[in-house]
Symmetry: C2
Subunit: 310 residues, 2 copies
């Protein structure tokens, strides 16, 4: 499939998702594109001796935004993620003072940088490239850290996740998944960046293996669907995962579970209490990240129990 490229260098990046954004490109629903994304730290970390003394004012550059013709508030933007390809031969994992799950722990050094070179698939029996960390190697499993649309009212820097998406740092935003985002503004305004070669659920030190990528997506539009999508939703093929961000993991868990209750009720005609009880038996809560200014939790419902809500 021929696809145009949206480039961080030539089209540009944003460091904020705002209600009013200027599209770098407008496309029709059904268009396939490649987004070129730079690493979350704008390429300033290239060596173990490059240290990040503080979180930069501008971080998680998001390539775009791209407007989808005809998108209006109340619609849903469907982002099929067809491929996330590594676009440089090394990632980097860093700690930064005042950031991360163990920021107050005296045993943890910050700043600290460890480059994670990418080793080609042909070196390994399982045919997957790996990133090296000291003497260890880890199979590459890329995800897009920051992806979102223009929010309804407030602006959010690309360090913050919220109902518009943003810095979700969610492993399931990856090759083969479909991400559904609510449209809050005309055109939707999709931007993405901050990919990782690999990341643990939790992103405890504050980063995964941050890396530039080329991301193939097809963008489509669901016009004013009956199901009222409030927050990001992911179809991994094996599960439908609600995604919610809040001040605490408890609050994010409540939102993610309430969204799952909506899915189950729409599918099975359950009342909210029945869906709550049923949802306490299948799938369950997952942690995306515990380090950003708001934290992010998923609730995964196996596809056996939810088809598409749209």
């Amino acid at each position: 499939m021929s696809r145009d490229t949206i480039s961080d260098d030539t089209h540009g990046v944003v460091y904020e998702f705002a209600p009013e954004m200027d599209a770098v490109r407008e496309v029709e629903p059904g268009t396939s594109l490649t987004f070129e994304t730079r690493d979350s730290l704008d390429g300033v970390i290239q060596d173990d001796d490059d240290l990040l003394d503080r979180i930069p004012e501008e971080v998680n550059a998001a390539t775009g935004p791209v407007a989808v013709e005809g998108a209006e508030p109340g619609d849903v933007l469907k982002v099929e993620i067809e491929d996330v390809r590594l676009a440089e031969d090394h990632g980097r994992v860093v700690t930064t003072p005042g950031f991360g799950l163990l920021q107050d722990d005296p045993d943890i050094e910050a700043p600290f940088t460890r480059m994670t070179p990418v080793e080609p698939a042909e070196n390994y029996d399982d045919g997957r490239p790996r990133v090296r960390f000291a003497e260890r190697s880890i199979p590459v499993d890329p995800c897009i850290g920051t992806i979102g649309v223009a929010p309804a009212e407030e602006s959010y820097t690309t360090l913050v996740p919220h109902d518009h998406g943003g810095n979700l740092d969610t492993n399931d935003v990856t090759t083969g998944s479909t991400l559904y985002l609510p449209v809050f503004q005309p055109g939707g305004m999709l931007a993405m960046g901050d990919s990782k070669a690999v990341m643990a659920d939790g992103e405890m030190c504050g980063t995964g293996a941050e890396i530039a990528t080329d991301v193939d997506v097809t963008l489509d539009l669901l016009k004013d669907p009956e199901f009222d999508l409030q927050r990001p939703l992911i179809d991994t093929g094996e599960a439908w995962k609600t995604v919610a961000s809040a001040e605490t993991l408890e609050e994010a868990s409540k939102l993610a579970h309430k969204d799952a209750i909506e899915l189950l009720s729409a599918e099975h005609g359950f009342g909210p209490t029945e869906s709550h009880a049923f949802g306490s038996l299948v799938g369950g809560l997952e942690i995306s990240q515990v380090v950003d200014p708001l934290v992010t939790v998923r609730n995964a419902i196996p596809s056996e129990h939810v088809s598409s809500p749209f």
Copy 2:
């Protein structure tokens, strides 16, 4: 293998893990036993019309405790879980006023009970029994909700999880897993109960499908191992999972991650910052439950990256 049975009816149950406990039985290291456990609500819920107006003062009856000969503080009790068999033909999922993730939500009814009949494996193509919930059925995947030893100093009711184990409500405490518990008191004093036929990670409504079970285990003792185990640790065969309980999911995440850092440092000779960064790339944080008086988080490290710490 011939194995003796420890029965909730004839040997008895406890509703508290205390520093001083009276063993119902003493066994040698290497002994295989079957624990008969009653459901967490002592059998009082047998119909959709049986409602739980409040959490009973005594809940999560734990069969035992069993002492292991020679166990002393500083040792580790190894519990190989060989089988968790359902011992009644229905479970139950309930909501209770003032309990559960959505206890303040006006849309959620409490008390509410839904019986979950067990349907035999031969009814299903995949050869697994299922529990029925309304018109839906869910493959059975039993776990032990409450399992622990005599704590170091404080007493904990069987509603509370902590470093001694207790009400961990952790899906991975299941057939095929090995649970390691720190020994705080002579004999260790193992008791268990509160099984579920199936439960979602999070246990959002406050229960899984609560059910009586027969649990086959082999108990062994690791004498004064070099690795200093502070809290429960699970070997699922695919991953080593640290298990930590605390007031908030954030605090539990910190403890579970610090325990994972200890595992990684012991295995690879990493310093704490290196293990912190490496642990932000592999496996990651998982939610066990968000409803008990303390909440429980795991950190899963794939077995590729950690062998046994013992």
